[in-house]
Symmetry: C2
Subunit: 216 residues, 2 copies
């Protein structure tokens, strides 16, 4: 495993933050056991053993797969914050990068499972953090992912159900955010199914790029 | 928040490892959406912001509670291990301590929720790690918890559905375990409901003790 130097404390991912996916799931939300859509962001952790770097090769799962990837804008926390408002949330942000979340198939979107999300080395983060003052309008940006040079996914950040400031605020009410914490704020609902040897490259214009190859 | 020096990487807790609780939940397991008992250990993380120490005061939840506590034997990993057998699992263990897991009420036992489990400072760990060669028979031990000096819970480790070696093996197939990772291997199914100001003291004979007070 290769370790980057950006994440210091915790790497938090936000699931179910694609408004189109949420719309399509209205029927499922009405069923047991929840019988209602989630009222709070659905979060999961990518722990220490998952942290990885730009250009790292991603192991094929020892369980045999299938393996999926999603890409997200990654928000890097600059300053400790607890229970901050959405209006003030961006004051605690150092800047932005990109995260790839490689995982097994999701069986439930409500609470992503540990087994599928915590494979070694499955959370590479871009090498560069673009300072927040160099990014003017997040809602105008898109996360674009190519697999083997062909467009596989495009996720406009304007399509996020909850905005970056809203998420920082909500999460900071659940747990204190600390310098070097990273939040992957939103993935396109439909993840990308991968094959062995695939090259996955994601970019957010003006922010950064991230490329990884799945082991052959 | 007070930080101890034991956990370096990740703090993993095992839910649903009380065989009596599992027996009592057979009906619930047959219902949607899972319709079967879990076949793997049910895990959750206590992230960086939760880590705390012996004698630390635990904040009352800003959401108003109710607040519960469970106590568990804490296994401290000595050596990096991936996909180890249960027979070899204890070779990777440095020793044992106790963890208190303070949390909000569990709505679902299948996948403990982030909001309820990740309150700041809610995972104090005993000050001492007892080396594994000083502990002869784990299955003969019990985790005993007193609240304000009265017995509140007793959990014999022999009542664990999965043993310590089985858990280390299973978890090491999901994610690599690294030096300084800690696994809280089992809590009594019924957690202890707390009031403001309660003093919580847990002990495992011959291993260690842990005491914390809830803020008044």
């Amino acid at each position: 495993m290769n370790r980057h130097s950006i994440v210091k404390g915790k790497l938090i991912c936000v699931a179910l933050n694609d408004s189109e996916q949420l719309s399509a799931m209205q029927q499922e939300f009405s069923e047991a056991p929840y019988k209602a859509p989630p009222t709070q962001p659905v979060l999961y952790f990518k722990p220490h053993n998952t942290w990885n770097t730009q250009a790292a090769t991603i192991d094929w799962p020892s369980t045999g797969g299938p393996l999926y990837v999603g890409a997200s804008l990654a928000v890097v926390v600059a300053t400790k914050c607890t229970r901050v408002s959405a209006e003030q949330a961006l004051e605690y942000v150092a800047g932005f990068s990109i995260l790839h979340d490689f995982s097994l198939q999701e069986k439930s979107y409500y609470r992503p499972d540990i087994k599928g999300k915590c494979l070694d080395g499955t959370a590479p983060l871009g090498a560069k953090v673009t300072p927040i003052d160099q990014v003017s309008d997040l809602s105008a940006l898109s996360v674009i992912t190519e697999v083997n040079g062909e467009l596989a996914s495009e996720f406009p950040l304007s399509q996020m159900q909850r905005s970056v400031p809203e998420l920082i605020s909500s999460i900071s009410y659940i747990m204190t955010l600390e310098p070097g914490d990273v939040i992957a704020v939103g993935f396109k609902g439909e993840r990308i199914l991968l094959n062995k040897g695939d090259k996955v490259c994601s970019a957010i214009a003006g922010v950064t790029e991230l490329s990884n190859q799945v082991a052959g």
